[in-house]
Symmetry: C4
Subunit: 257 residues, 4 copies
C-alpha cells in the first residue's frame, strides 16, 4: 500500500518524475483535459448538442468520474511529501492554488451533470479546465517556450507600449478624418469618432470586412492616403511580437541571444 | 507670495522642473487634457450626447474652469522668467505660439459652454486641445521617441518619395487595366480611371472591402495577376516606415545606429 | 531494332539521360502532362464543357492514345535495364510504384473516353496525372528546389509546430471571447465556439471576407483588441515558412547556409 | 539664328545638357506631359467630362499646340547633331523610335481634337503620352533607381519564377480542394476549378473581397487550413520583390551591395 502510494506520487506530482519532463500518467491526464476541452467546444454548438444530448451528458459524466478519481488519488498520494503528510497536511495541500483550481473543475463538472448549466455560462465554466493544463504541463518544452516568449515580450515592453500608443493615435487620427469628411453622408457608420474607429480598425489592420467604407470622393481619397501611410504604424505591435517570437525560437535552438 | 510664484514657476514651466522630465503638476494638466479629449471623442457620439446632455455640459464646464485657472496661473508665474517680467512681459508671453494655442483652447471651451457649438465643427474645435500636449510633454520619453522617429523618416525621405511614387504608378497601371477590361461591364465601379483607383487601392493594400470587384473572367484574371505582382510595391512605403521605426527603437535602447 | 530500343531507353528513363537533367523526349511528355492538366481544369468549368463537348472528348482521346503509346514504349525500352529484362522483368517493372501510377493514369483516360466519368470524381481522376510529374521531373532544378525546401521546412518543424499550436490557441481564445460577448446578439454567426472560429480565422489572417463581423460595441472593442494583438501570432507559421523559402533560395544560389 | 538653334539643342536634347540631369526646358515639357496625363485620367470620368466638355476640349487643344511646337522645335534643333543635319538627317531623326512615339502622341492629340475619340480607346490613346516620359527623363535619379530596380529583379529571376510557380501550384491545390468540398453546395462560386481560383486568389493574397466564401463546415475547415498554411507561399513573390527594392535603395545610398 505504501509502495503503491510512493509510486503514484512519482507519477502524479509534476515535479517528482525522476526522468524529467512529464510522467506518462500526467500525459494521460493532460490528454483527458484536452479531450474534455474539445468536447466543451463542440458542446457549445447548439445543432450538435441537440442531436447528441445523451452523448454529451455521458461524456461529461465520464470526465466527472475520472477527474474526481484523479483529484482523490492526488490528495492521497501527496502524503508522500512531508509538507502534506497527515490529515492537516492534506487540508493544507487542498488549499494550495492549483488544488483549488482542480477542486473547482471537479465541482463544476458535478454541478453540471447534476443540475445542468446552460448557455454561455456553462461553456465558460467548462473551459475553466484549461487552467489545469498550466500546473500539470509546467515541465514541458511548451512551458519553456512560453516562458522564453514571455521574457522576450517583457524585454520589449517599452517598444510595445510606444507602438501600441502610436497605433492608437493613428487609428484616432484616421477615424477623426473620416468622421469629418464622411460623417455627414453616412451618419450610421461615420457619424461619431467611436463609430469611425471601427472602420479605422478594420482598414488599418487590412482586415477590411466591408460592412463600412467611405462612398464620397473626398472620403475615399482620405481613406486611401490614410491606408497607404498608416498600415505600417498599426502593424508595428505585430512586428515587435514577431521579433519576440523569432528571438524565442533562436534561444530554443540554443543559438546566441 | 513671491515664494509661491517661484514654486509655481518650477512646477508649471516645462523646462524649469529641476529633476528633468515632466513636473507632477504638468502631469496632472496632461491627464486633464487627455480626459477632456476622451470626453470630446465620446461627446461626438450622438446616442451618448442625447442620453447625458447635462453630464457632458458639466464636464465641459469643469474643464473650462480648470484650463482658465491653469492659463492664468501660468501667466502669473511666468513673471519669474526675466524675459516675461512685468505687464509688458506678460503680454509678450501671451503672444508666444504655445500661449496663443492655450488661449484658443480656453476661449473655445468658454464659447462652447456659453453658446454651444454643434456638429462636426464642435468636435474638431474640442480636439484642438491635443495641440497643447506637444508643448507640455516636450521633455518626455515619448517626445524623444517621436523626435527620433521623425529623424529616421527624414533620413529615408528619398526612398519614401520613390516608393510612394512607384506605388502611385502601380495603382494607376492596375486601375487603368481594370478600367479597360472591366469598365464596359461595370460602369458604376470601373467606368473611369479615378473610379477604378478605389478598387486598386482596396486590393493592393489587401484591405479588400468587397464593395467593388471584377466579375468578368478577363477582369478577374487581370485582378489576380496585378494583385500577386503588385502588392509588394504598394507595401514598400509601409516597409520603409517599419524600418524607420525599428531604427528608432534600436536607438532608444542605446544600441549602435 | 536493338539500337532503337537502346536509344529510346536513354530518352525515356529519367535517370539514363547522359547529359543530366531531363531528356528532350521526357520534356515533351511533361509538356503533354501539363497540357492535359490544363485541359482537365478547363473541362471542370461547365459552361466550357457544354460549349465544346466534342473538343474536350477529342482532346482526351488524343491524350489517351499518346499516354498509352508512351506507356508501351517505356515498357518495351526498359528491357535495356538488366533488372527489367524479359517478360518477367517487364512484369516486375510494371509493378513498380511509378509504373502503377502511369498505368492508373492511362486506364483512367481510357475509362473516361469509353464510359465517361462526370462531376467532381471525373475532375479528380483527371488531376491524378499530376503525380506523373514527380517521377519524370525528378532530375530538374525544380525538384532540387523542392527537395531543399522540404529540408528547410523539416529543420524548422519544432518552431512550426509550436507556432501552429500558438496560432490555434489564439484563434480559440479570440473565438471564445467573441462567442461570449457577441453570441447572444448574433446566434447565427457567433452562437458557438466553432462558429466564432470562422470569424476568428477570417479576421486574424486579415482575409476579412465580411460575411460575419461583430455589431455590438463591446464585440467590436474585443474584435479590435484581439486583431491588433493577435495578427502577429497567427502570422507566425507564415513567417517561418517564409524563412524556410529564403534559406532555400540562398542555398540554390550557392551562398553560405 | 544658328546661336538660337545651338542653345535650343542643349536645352532640348536629353543628353546635351552640360550640367547633367534634365534641362529646365525638358523639365517643363515633362511637367506638361504629367499635366496632360492627369487631364486624361480626369477626362475618363464621365461626370467630369459631361460637366466641363469645353474645358477638356480647350485643355487638349492647348496640349496639341504645345506638343506640336515642341516636336517641330526638336526637329529643327536636332540639325546641330551631325548625324541629323540637313533634310535627310531630319528624316533620319524623325524615324528614330523616340521621335516616332513623339509623332504618334502629337498626331493622336490632333486627331482627338479634330474628330474626337470617345470611350475606352480615347482614354488609352491619351495615356500613350506616358511613353514620352521614358525618353525625356532618362538622365534623372528616378531613371537610375528604376534601372537598378530592374537589375535587382533580373538578378532574382530564378527565385521569382520558382516562387510564382509555387504560388500558382498552391492556388491550384487550394482551388481544387474547395471545388471538391464546396462545389456541390455553391455551384455558382465553386462549381469548377477556374471559378474556385478566384476565391483562392482573393483568400491567399488576404484581400478577401467577400463576394465568395465557403459556407459548409468542411469547406470552412479546408479554407482555414489552406489559408494559414499557404498565405506565406503566395506572399513569396511579394517578398522577393521587396528584397529587390531594399537592395536597390541600399545601392542608391551608396552602401555596399
Amino acid at each position: 500500500m505504501a509502495n503503491l502510494r510512493s509510486k503514484l506520487f512519482t507519477y502524479l506530482d509534476p515535479e517528482a518524475w525522476p526522468e524529467g519532463g512529464i510522467s506518462p500518467l500526467n500525459k494521460a491526464v493532460l490528454a483527458f483535459i484536452g479531450l474534455s476541452i474539445v468536447a466543451a467546444i463542440l458542446e457549445s454548438e447548439p445543432t450538435l448538442k441537440q442531436e447528441f444530448p445523451q452523448g454529451f451528458y455521458a461524456l461529461n459524466a465520464v470526465f466527472a468520474v475520472l477527474f474526481l478519481a484523479e483529484y482523490l488519488a492526488r490528495l492521497w498520494a501527496m502524503g508522500e511529501d512531508p509538507r502534506y503528510a497527515g490529515v492537516l497536511g492534506r487540508i493544507r495541500f487542498a488549499c494550495t492554488f492549483t488544488s483549488l483550481i482542480d477542486l473547482a473543475v471537479v465541482l463544476g463538472l458535478w454541478v453540471d451533470i447534476i443540475f445542468g448549466i446552460h448557455g454561455v455560462y456553462g461553456v465558460v465554466l467548462r473551459l475553466v479546465r484549461v487552467l489545469r493544463v498550466f500546473s500539470l504541463a509546467r515541465n514541458s518544452d511548451w512551458a519553456a517556450a512560453i516562458f522564453l516568449l514571455g521574457r522576450a515580450i517583457r524585454d520589449r515592453r517599452r517598444e510595445l507600449c510606444l507602438s501600441l500608443g502610436l497605433a492608437m493615435i493613428i487609428l484616432l487620427v484616421s477615424a477623426t478624418l473620416l468622421f469629418v469628411v464622411e460623417g455627414p453622408t453616412q451618419p450610421e457608420a461615420f457619424g461619431s469618432i467611436p463609430r469611425a474607429m471601427w472602420w479605422a480598425m478594420a482598414t488599418l489592420t487590412t482586415v477590411g470586412y466591408g460592412d463600412v467604407y467611405p462612398v464620397t470622393v473626398i472620403g475615399r481619397l482620405m481613406a486611401g492616403i490614410s491606408a497607404i501611410t498608416s498600415i505600417a504604424i498599426v502593424a508595428m505591435p505585430t512586428g515587435i511580437m514577431a521579433a519576440a517570437f523569432s528571438d524565442t525560437f533562436q534561444q530554443m535552438r540554443g543559438g546566441p541571444r
